[in-house]
């Protein structure tokens, strides 16, 4: 009952602040626009800027296959959509603390754990739905505009789910950073630092299978036969980190004087 009320509250809050619309728009924008840009706009831009460029070289520079388009979309979601999403929902915890509204559910007997779980569930579901639907839209749209190069939609579906799972990790960081910084913008900045930093560390030390960033790597491969052990390892770390970050948030909230912001 307690969690049901909190879920409803988060849903209403998300709708009222247009957060869900922003999340979907940030992902769908690239899902729809990327193939069009790659098919129609970018070749024209290149032709006008470099009229003597051979066609073969131009094709090397452009995304001319469905697979390349989906990879481009996934890259944009990781680099750009996440930026938009992180700042648009950076207030889900920080704002509630700074505006002293977190005291209301606490006063009605709701536990910090339930509050954190409700936020994670609502926004986590939203980001994973957005990335999965976005990947499917991109798969079909790029397939129609170019050619269906993948043997089925499954690699794209998998890529959307894996990318979305990495974004749930971002939401967990955001909630924790919100409790830590108590201000939306610093929370967003700190979140992005950890979000991008995780992949950077994975790249530097080649340890993606031990980090959540392995999900992104496997997503971008769009493999005909996914590496299940690689995904399982990365997923285990991601889930563990989400649990740890959520628990740390609860510990942090317990030590805060909520009426002071």
């Amino acid at each position: 009952m307690e969690i049901k009320t909190l879920l409803k509250k988060e849903l209403l809050d998300g709708v009222r602040n247009y957060r869900f619309i922003i999340i979907f728009a940030a992902v769908f924008f690239f899902a729809i626009l990327d193939p069009v840009l790659n098919k129609l706009v970018l070749p024209e831009v290149l032709r006008s800027q470099f009229p003597d460029m051979p066609e073969a070289l131009m094709n090397e520079m452009l995304f001319t296959t469905q697979v390349a388009n989906i990879r481009g979309f996934l890259g944009n979601v990781y680099q750009l959509s996440s930026l938009i999403i992180a700042f648009s929902i950076s207030g889900i915890m920080a704002q509630e603390i700074s505006e002293k509204t977190l005291i209301f559910p606490v006063c009605t007997g709701k536990s910090f754990a339930s509050i954190v779980a409700a936020k994670l569930f609502v926004y986590g579901s939203c980001v994973i739905t957005a990335t999965t639907l976005g990947a499917m839209i991109n798969y079909f749209y790029a397939g129609v505009l170019f050619e269906f190069g993948l043997p089925s939609a499954i690699p794209a579906l998998r890529a959307g789910l894996l990318n979305g799972t990495y974004m749930i990790y971002m939401v967990a960081i955001l909630i924790f950073m919100g409790a830590l910084a108590r201000k939306a913008i610093p929370a967003g900045l700190l979140t992005l630092l950890l979000y991008y930093g995780t992949r950077l560390i994975g790249d530097l030390f080649n340890i993606h299978n031990y980090l959540p960033s392995g999900l992104l790597i496997e997503a971008e491969l769009l493999a005909a036969a996914p590496s299940l052990s690689f995904i399982a390892g990365s997923l285990a770390t991601t889930v563990a980190l989400i649990i740890i970050l959520s628990s740390l948030t609860v510990v942090r909230l317990s030590s805060l004087e909520l009426t002071r912001g």
Binding site: E60, V67, A113, G149, L150, P151, P155, Y210, L221, L222, A223, A224, A225, S227, S229, A232, G233, A236, T237, V239, A240, I243, I244, S247, L248, V250, V251, S254
Partner: protein, 313 residues
């Protein structure tokens, strides 16, 4: 508060356990004299199993190599496609590849007989596991290893996937001459090997010279004594020879060398299929298919294998 610290500790512990478990789960361990071979089975049918044998270099059971960037997953894809058809497969990491490489002294791999011995050990292991019929499917160099292993430990069928048809020095010379001049050191080393001589010292600025390390020379020396076509001609079991028109490593001449020693219905040459069994129609796709796992297997590869296996069953 204590509860939350316990939850955090439990989450971390479970993640660590999962990582440790992944390192060992699902592997079959086959102990040989100087190390352990790690393999994986796919499918539940105990009547027949297809043993996939990887090609040259440190190529692992999935068809990927540590010396090449990315993955192509060619052998893993074959196993998955055959599993969909209800055919069990077994793949193993050669002694120089994947998990098996951790248990062997790689400096001591100087003859092909060790690899043949490993394949025989895996065949014996599969027999011990209760598989009634065994079909070998060797890819590239794995084709020759399969042929030689089948002589030592009888099996029920043999599939050559992009296997060489000539002794390896001929294939190597062809590959080298496509990139290097006639008087290059590499060609000279190869010709010395034909006379049974090793070349010392071997130095260079990378590239092919690094390929001709002393150990590799010894290995090639042991390898070039075998003529795959000659061995295949003597095999008394059902055979299927598959070659690809877009194969830039093992060409049509190699395929023909194998095909001509068998009945015409035993060989298939697939248009636009490259060495790693993917469909490629451009030079760009040819290159990318070696490191991009999004490329599926050639659509015409699996049906004849399924048909061949069904006939043996």
């Amino acid at each position: 508060m204590k509860k939350h610290y316990l939850i955090m500790a439990a989450a971390a512990l479970i993640a660590v356990t999962v990582h440790i478990y992944i390192g060992f789960a699902g592997y079959h361990k086959i102990t040989v004299e100087d190390g352990t071979l790690y393999g994986r089975a796919m499918g539940n049918d105990k009547e027949l199993v297809v043993l996939l044998i990887a090609g040259s270099g440190p190529t692992d059971m999935d068809g990927n190599s540590v010396i090449l960037p990315g993955r192509n997953d060619s052998l893993l894809l074959i196993a998955r496609e055959l599993a969909k058809e209800g055919i069990s497969t077994f793949r193993y990491d050669k002694r120089a590849a994947g998990k098996s490489a951790e248990t062997f002294d790689l400096e001591n791999i100087t003859d092909i007989e060790a690899l043949i011995g490993d394949c025989v050990a895996v065949i014996e292991y599969l027999k011990d596991q209760g598989y009634k019929k065994i079909v070998l499917a060797g890819h590239s160099k794995g084709s020759l290893i399969g042929m030689l292993a089948a002589i030592e430990s009888p099996v029920d069928g043999f599939i050559s996937l992009a296997g060489t048809g000539n002794p390896i020095d001929i294939t190597l010379e062809k590959q080298l001459l496509a990139q290097l001049p006639e008087d290059s050191s590499e060609i000279q080393i190869l010709r010395n090997l034909r006379n049974g001589e090793l070349t010392l010292p071997v130095s260079g600025d990378g590239g092919e010279l690094n390929f001709f390390t002393l150990n590799n020379q010894k290995f090639i020396l042991s390898w070039m004594q075998y003529d795959p076509a000659e061995i295949l001609a003597g095999m008394k079991i059902p055979v299927l020879i598959i070659g690809g028109e877009a194969d830039i490593q093992v060409d049509r001449e190699d395929f023909e060398a194998l095909a001509k020693v068998r009945e015409p219905h035993e060989s298939i040459f697939i248009e636009d299929m490259n060495h790693i069994l993917k469909e490629v129609t451009t030079q760009k796709a040819q290159e990318e298919s070696y490191y991009d796992p999004s490329f599926p297997l050639h659509g015409e590869l699996i049906p004849p294998i399924v048909e061949f296996v069904a006939a043996i069953r």
